[in-house]
Amino acid sequence: MEKLPIALYIIPSLIMFCCGVYGFITRKNMIAILISLELMLNSVDINFVVFNRFLYPGQLEGMMFTLFAIAIAAAETALAIAIIVNIFRAVKNIDIRDLNKMKF
């Protein structure tokens, strides 16, 4: 398994990250923006794991970072969705173009 070079693992993660950037800028639905954010977080997780595996195979630091990043991403998504549902209740819409007031 480990004989493939590192670059072959981090290039897919780079492409995933760029897709996340594109979606983050072009999307208008807030949940779609959240999905793009998940893509970016996930690509960073891949990088942590790959560098840990290839550079320090005897240690697990990168894996720990990925575990905690996954936990924090779950918490962040839950809160963001609570906020989005609340916004939907207030303005009946989750299009970011319609959200130009700080207080409803």
């Binding site: 398994m1 480990e2 004989k3 493939l4 070079p5 590192i6 670059a7 072959l8 290039i11 993660s13 780079l14 492409i15 995933m16 990250f17 760029c18 897709c19 996340g20 950037v21 594109y22 072009t26 999307r27 639905n29 949940i31 779609a32 959240l34 999905i35 793009s36 998940e38 893509l39 996930n42 997780d45 891949i46 794991v49 595996r53 550079l55 195979p57 005897g58 240690q59 697990l60 630091e61 894996m63 720990m64 990925t66 575990l67 905690f68 996954i70 936990a71 924090i72 991403a73 779950a74 918490a75 998504t77 839950a78 809160l79 969705i81 609570a82 906020i83 549902v85 609340n86 939907f88």
Partner: protein, 172 residues
């Protein structure tokens, strides 16, 4: 020498990652975007399994695919009617998005391509495999390079997140 099976496996996983992450950000139906995100996360878990980190692949499937995607699908069904499509992109917005993503692709791709180290492999064959005992003692130990304090901090964070979610989303 690399076995043919693992190369085939690698190609399938990487093709799935690339195709589904592009589809995630380009499809106009939001529920399909969530489904493609699910496939991307599964392919990532497959990559972790390929790197012999079975525990991490299981966590990825359980938390991301089982938790986050279900949450996202619930909120999509709460906030949009089925069959809704997002409006067509204006060309200005698309140009801005493409410029940002191509710029980051160029900078990071140059960083990868210019390090010729990345094209060789580092892992030592004697140290392959993954020790579950090491993971357990790292996660629940208090010594150097051990992670009990962050572990407890994450548990407090999750509790705060539950309470915050309830407080934010409740009916007033």
């Amino acid at each position: 020498m690399e076995s043919v099976g693992s190369i085939v496996m690698y190609s399938i996983i990487v093709a799935a990652i690339i195709i589904f992450s592009i589809l995630t950000v380009t499809t106009r139906r939001i529920l399909r975007a969530a489904t493609y995100l699910l496939f991307t996360l599964f392919a990532t878990a497959g990559l972790y399994f390929m790197l012999d980190y079975e525990f991490l692949g299981a966590v990825q499937i359980a938390v991301y695919a089982g938790g986050i995607v279900v949450l996202v699908v619930f909120s999509i069904l709460l906030t949009s009617k089925p069959g809704d499509t997002s409006s067509k992109l204006t060309s200005k917005k698309r140009v801005v998005g493409l410029a940002a993503s191509v710029a980051s692709l160029a900078v990071l791709g140059y960083a990868i391509a210019s390090r010729c180290d990345f094209w060789s492999t580092f892992v030592k064959p004697s140290e392959t495999g993954f020790d579950m005992h090491l993971l357990g003692s790292m996660l629940l130990g208090t010594g150097k390079y051990q992670y009990l304090l962050p572990f407890e901090a994450v548990s407090v964070l999750l509790l705060a997140c539950i309470i915050g979610g309830v407080v934010i989303a409740r009916k007033r």
